[in-house]
Symmetry: C3
Subunit: 359 residues, 3 copies
């Protein structure tokens, strides 16, 4: 943590303006674009800091600072919990709903901008970096190409050009703030994480949902030594590179990762059952085909019978949830469900994260 409120800046191009005191320049800024940003040790520190954040009524570590949130997609939890986190730390939170309020943005370099985009991300990011102390970005690309979307061009263009830290508020590949809140919630209940059995179960859903929460949780859970089972139908494989990284994590941490293609074997012995729908990367370019495939997958739904197969598992879901499609009311509202604790922990994790980045 840096002593001066401006040392988080690292604009090597920053010009010293004659006659004006200007911002200090630090060597690096820290973006949080993926859950892989943090080492296991840093994650443990963040979790500990999160627990202290719950105790604190409010601090003033963000006094005089502004966090701007840019939403290119809808949000309830992320938007409200980030704004409350910033305000509880004494800061100012500025929300920008990109679709309605801002100019169309160009993320690619060296383009002749004679199309519909009115502003380059370079200019938006550098301008905002002159006004605010951190940027949150939610951008879920949905072209028909998985290879294009997984590059997360808009998010990475912001990170490249912003001179203040950029925090991923959910992208095509990742949702790191959600995953850290999830792991904090698991730790509150299981105390120790090493070797504990977490099942990440795909569920039915009318829409092709983003893969971010699952990827980020997979990363964090394997890094902290959990024994993870990934259960999904064929055709709904997670991103290859992400799964590969999770295998490496598990090898390093003494955790495990296995993949099964039926829900039942995923349930057996689970101590934590994390349900979430996600879209098929295989059918990313063909949502109609995906919808057709899903007609035979309605049984991928968590009900009391599914819960009964687990080892009295905690039930988790990152919300919003389609009730009685993803999981039944009796599970969502049942005694083992911690879905609202997950949501509340977003607030505390983000206070810890902002303190870590800017405090």
């Amino acid at each position: 943590m840096l002593p001066d409120i401006f040392t988080c800046w690292h604009d090597t191009e920053f010009r010293i303006i004659a006659g004006f005191r200007t911002k200090h320049t630090a060597l690096t800024k820290r973006d949080v674009l993926t859950a892989a940003t943090f080492s296991a040790g840093e994650l443990e520190n963040l979790i500990e800091l999160t627990e202290r954040m719950k105790e604190m009524r409010s601090g003033q570590v963000l006094a005089g600072r502004t966090v701007a949130l840019l939403f290119f997609d809808r949000s309830l939890r992320t938007r409200v919990s980030f704004e409350c986190a910033t305000v509880q730390l004494g800061g100012h939170c500025l929300n920008l709903f990109a679709e309605n309020e801002l100019y169309g943005l160009e993320p690619e370099d060296r383009v002749v901008m004679d199309g519909s985009a009115e502003e380059h991300v370079k200019d938006a990011a550098r301008t905002l970096s002159r006004y605010v102390d951190a940027l949150g970005v939610r951008a879920l690309d949905r072209s028909r190409s998985w290879e294009v979307d997984r590059q997360e061009r808009l998010l990475h263009a912001y990170a490249k050009y912003a001179t203040v830290p950029v925090i991923n508020l959910e992208s095509t590949l990742e949702h790191p703030c959600q995953a850290i809140a999830d792991i904090v919630t698991i730790k509150q209940n299981l105390i120790d994480l090493k070797g504990r059995k977490l099942t990440l179960a795909w569920t039915d859903h009318p829409d092709p949902k983003g893969l971010g929460p699952c990827h980020s949780l997979l990363h964090v859970a394997t890094m902290l030594g959990m024994d993870v089972t990934l259960a999904h139908p064929l055709g709904f494989e997670l991103d290859e590179e992400t799964v590969g990284q999770a295998r490496t994590n598990a090898a390093d941490s003494g955790g495990g990762l296995r993949i099964v293609n039926d829900l039942e074997s995923g349930l057996d012995g689970a101590e934590v059952l994390y349900a979430r729908a996600w879209g098929s990367t295989k059918y990313w370019s063909d949502p109609e085909r995906e919808a057709m495939v899903k007609r035979s997958l309605h049984s991928w739904r968590i009900d009391e019978a599914a819960m009964a197969r687990t080892a009295n598992a905690l039930f988790m879901h990152p919300l919003p949830v389609r009730r009685n499609v993803v999981a039944t009311d009796s599970v969502l509202d049942g005694p083992r469900s911690v879905i609202y604790d997950q949501a509340e922990n977003r607030l505390h994790v983000q206070k810890a994260l902002l303190t870590h980045l800017l405090g």
Copy 2:
């Protein structure tokens, strides 16, 4: 008023999370969904508190607290006055424009959510209750069924599931904050309310406007002993149950309630003339029919001749107003008009209300 900033919470399901201090639990939370929420004595206390609020520059009773406002319909006065009220009390106000920013919401229980709604009100309300200290909701349903719309499903689902107080920012049936501001404005001018003659006059308008402001004012005015005349054309009857309750109020308070179907007899002797258009509950399912009926009702407009029939009445309207349709410029801008005082009193009433609920 409660001493601890968290005692307003009453989540009986609230789980004690191992190792974390959690929020205190109070026995009840207080929602403000209708003007009928308050007894006559409570109303008088609120009015008195409002007057004190005008004196105060700012307090800090909301320090460290957040009020979230959810708008499912457009707003100027409510949105700005609530945000200013919260900030003037030292709190943080968070605005959510539901139509553009949030997920589609399901208000009904036990539904299989395979339609367009992405999130259940239960989950949105419980999540928000973990982040904020009070929720304001503006939701004006407009299906074609009066029986359905008068149930105010979205508002009541929020009230049912939120564990923090829910404040009605205007619904199909009610607009309690407006009505209390109106009564404060009347009291500032007439000093005593008992037996004073208030006429609530329907007026012409191109659209079928909501009935909330009239219902809530009818309730409050009869409860405080005013002698109310309701003037509207046949077919524009207010909600039966609301009118019945107002009759009971009037009987209890020594006030009066009569209904006339011509504007002129409504004007005679009025000390306060409150103009407002509202949609026909009779033709709720058939707006084209309502528009046709209204072709012969253009004379239901307040002009100087109408004002001259009153007992030098104060002129009131809750705004926004269609000038020269509902009332003429000369009346709206005339010496007896208090339309901007009504608007300003929204601010002070809401400071009183937030202090009452959370202070």
Copy 3:
């Protein structure tokens, strides 16, 4: 600067409400609708105050006060810099996105409001004046008539009816906050402004952009004695009245103003090159014709060859900019570009302006 926080109010119709302390009444309020609002001496004071604002971490001159911003058009810099400016001065900033959140507005007096507008600007402005301490308005009219649009009816209706200061956040004719930030940026680099050569160069652009930034800068630069060259193709003349006023300014200040219709002679000898596209007032009613005319104007683009003709000019642009259409990446990112300093100075200028108006 006024000692009491309420003396900026001048509502001559303001009624004293029995039993309530009400706001003080000052003789005048000060709107900032055009750059012509300020005398040369006042401009110099504002520039000096801006420099002091950069030094300050934050003040509390807006403690307890609210600035509301009304956007009828998209914004990034203006919206974020104004919100940050207000918050850095201890105030509360309220953003209203008129298109999605507010009622349709009628700016004309004495209209029978039976059309689509639900509220008169008179009522919106007077209501807001009861809640907030200053209003910012961005409204870029785009009917097909230049004579109509240059009247800026919505902005002027707000100024007429608001009893608090109204600040132009960009209109058809003006963008005063941008121009003052521009002049501060020039002064930071050239130190002295008198007689220095500023070229304001029209550039290519796919859309007919507003003329506000150019008009306001033309005004401010001639008032402070700069030697201004205006370079644009035939058919892209600026507003006649604005140019006439700039000629008068130049005569008074010892500055200069010449107009050329080729880019090259505009570049020769320039010490500051300010590039900006703007729409043709001549073809205001016929955008298709304008687009046709512009097909032969693609060479009006600033590249390194153009920069080489200048006297090592500073390169300026108010952003957003169409990269490689208006100017090349190499110029925008080059060593003489101060585009982000211009953007940053918006923040400091607006802190100075708010302090000037409300402090």
